[in-house]
Amino acid sequence: MEKPIEKWLGKINELTIGATTQEGGTRRKVVKVGGENTLPFLHFEGKIINPPVVAIEVWDREPENWPETLKEEFKNCFKNPVDWAKKSVEEWGMDLICLRLFSTHPDAQDTSPKEAAKTVEEILKNVDIPLIITGSGYVQKDGEVMLEVAQVAKGENLLLGIAVQENYKTMVASCLSGGHSLIAETPIDLNLAKQLNILISDMGFPSERIVIHHATGGLGYGLEYTYSVIERTKLAGLGGDKMLSQPMINFVGQEAWRAKEAKVSEEEMPILGKQKERAIFWEAITAVAFLNAGTDILVMNHPKAIKLVKEAIKELMTV
């Protein structure tokens, strides 16, 4: 039987996160994503020049809603995000961190943009790998926070976010002035994602510096719908649509650990088995589903789940 090989007109944009000293930043190495001209792991059809990457979440405050099984991994990290970041590099061998400035939320500590920027500065000083940085999801405040963050990280070529319909103008201005890339988020809808990318690039922001985020559900909570939207985005990008040929990011950890299957104890539901192992697998399996759908950057929580997923990526990338 002949393999049905598809010849794609387009390819996914290649994006570099981070800048070394020679490139005007202070990172030891950079992370590259995208650049493929075929669907996930179809090595017989095209070239996948960069494997998908995993970033570990580092919070600037204690995550109150995390289940104990997840929290216990980070016991000594919650006082200072710098410790968390350092541990991620030194102990868990991460090469990408996703710093989440959740303390800036008005309902949390309401940290000021200047203070948040200071945290970023400290982390940049203490770890030498590239960062993805998001605000708290409080749309208006995120814009103000990123204005400061973009400036203290100028030249580091980071990936900032998250831009949505309501705040993309300030987010774009921040990224333009600081020389960073931008995560653009829409609610699981191909047409809306394209629209936001057009609006963003219409402001003079290069479409090659956008990363698409289809706001999503976790495994068991609407993942199958997101899966299809991610796949369709990749197909459109490979088909030559410049406004949908961006790499994609998914915040896997936050979705997986929100699920009942990860949170509920064995005592409450004996049928689900041991919570600790089950939860780690729940996060890892969710991540692998996203990998197969076409996600380029996975943001995850549990170091053990991350380890499993990195092994899976290695295997999937073996030609």
């Binding site: 191909l190 047409n191 394209k194 629209q195 057009i198 479409s207 649509d241 406004m243």
Partner: protein, 261 residues
């Protein structure tokens, strides 16, 4: 859709003047403007008024390739002018064009091979332009067979079903649409289909309207490529909208803006 800009043609008075006076800037601006508006390749025709078509073609191709590396469609009936144009192309050139006559194909296919060029084959023979879809298709088959016999890649072949002015041959418009439909069924993969669009409105009062209406119909019938005026904004909007309606590109409210990126 693959768009070949038609404006660098000596039949246009402004281009004829630029060729005569060796006005590089005018030609280069016209090339870049067409690309900016959406042309993927540019047609290059020295026209009939020049005394030295060979050197005029060389000058035109050199002038254009100084500012862009998009493909050029060398548009001439003279073999020596064709070869001179192909010689100076920097990206994969397009031979525009050959009739379905054997001697014409025998002369041009070796050139296509030599310069790794695509070829536009017209469904015309020395007997003239056929009056219906079936006779056009016969000629298309002749071209396709000859092309494949020579070991050429089918994806590099464009078949032009030759549209005539609606004012002169109204009944032909529908025959050409049917030919396009049938060409797509000739082989797997099929050859590409192409039209020199502006011919349909030659001598009419509402040129732009007729061009864009016919283009929408032809795209729907399976047209892959057109030689047209990309500076006609309404025409370009019709292309982008047709691609949305045929589910070839993803809809969003600003899709017209997105096409220009």
């Amino acid at each position: 859709m693959f768009i070949i800009g038609e404006r660098i043609n000596g039949m246009f008075k402004d281009v004829a003047r630029a060729i005569k006076e060796k006005d590089k800037k005018f030609i280069q601006d016209l090339a870049l403007k067409q690309i900016e508006k959406g042309a993927n390749a540019l047609d290059v025709n020295v026209g009939t008024a020049v005394d030295e078509p060979v050197s005029a073609m060389e000058w035109l191709v050199k002038t254009i390739t100084e500012v862009t590396d998009v493909s050029l469609a060398i548009d001439t009936t003279k073999l020596n002018v064709m070869e001179k144009g192909l010689e100076f192309c920097k990206s994969k050139p397009i031979i525009n064009s050959s009739s379905a006559d054997e001697e014409k194909l025998n002369a041009l296919i070796p050139l296509a091979k030599k310069y790794n060029a695509s070829l536009i084959g017209l469904t015309i023979s020395r007997k003239g332009i056929p009056s219906d879809a079936n006779s056009r298709l016969e000629l298309a088959i002749n071209i396709l067979t000859k092309w494949q016999e020579n070991g050429m890649n089918i994806e590099d072949l464009y078949i032009d079903a030759v549209i005539l002015p609606v004012k002169v041959a109204q009944a032909q418009c529908v025959e050409v649409l049917e030919t396009i439909r049938q060409i797509k069924l000739l082989s797997q993969p099929p050859p590409k289909t192409i039209l020199g669009l502006s011919n349909v409105s030659q001598g009419t009062k509402y040129r732009s309207l007729i061009n864009r209406t016919y283009l929408a119909m032809a795209i729907s019938a399976g047209l892959d490529t057109a030689i047209l005026d990309p500076l006609d904004e309404e025409l370009m909007k019709v292309i982008h909208t047709s691609e949305i309606l045929l589910n070839k590109t993803v809809y969003c409210d600003s899709y017209l803006k997105g096409c220009k990126k």
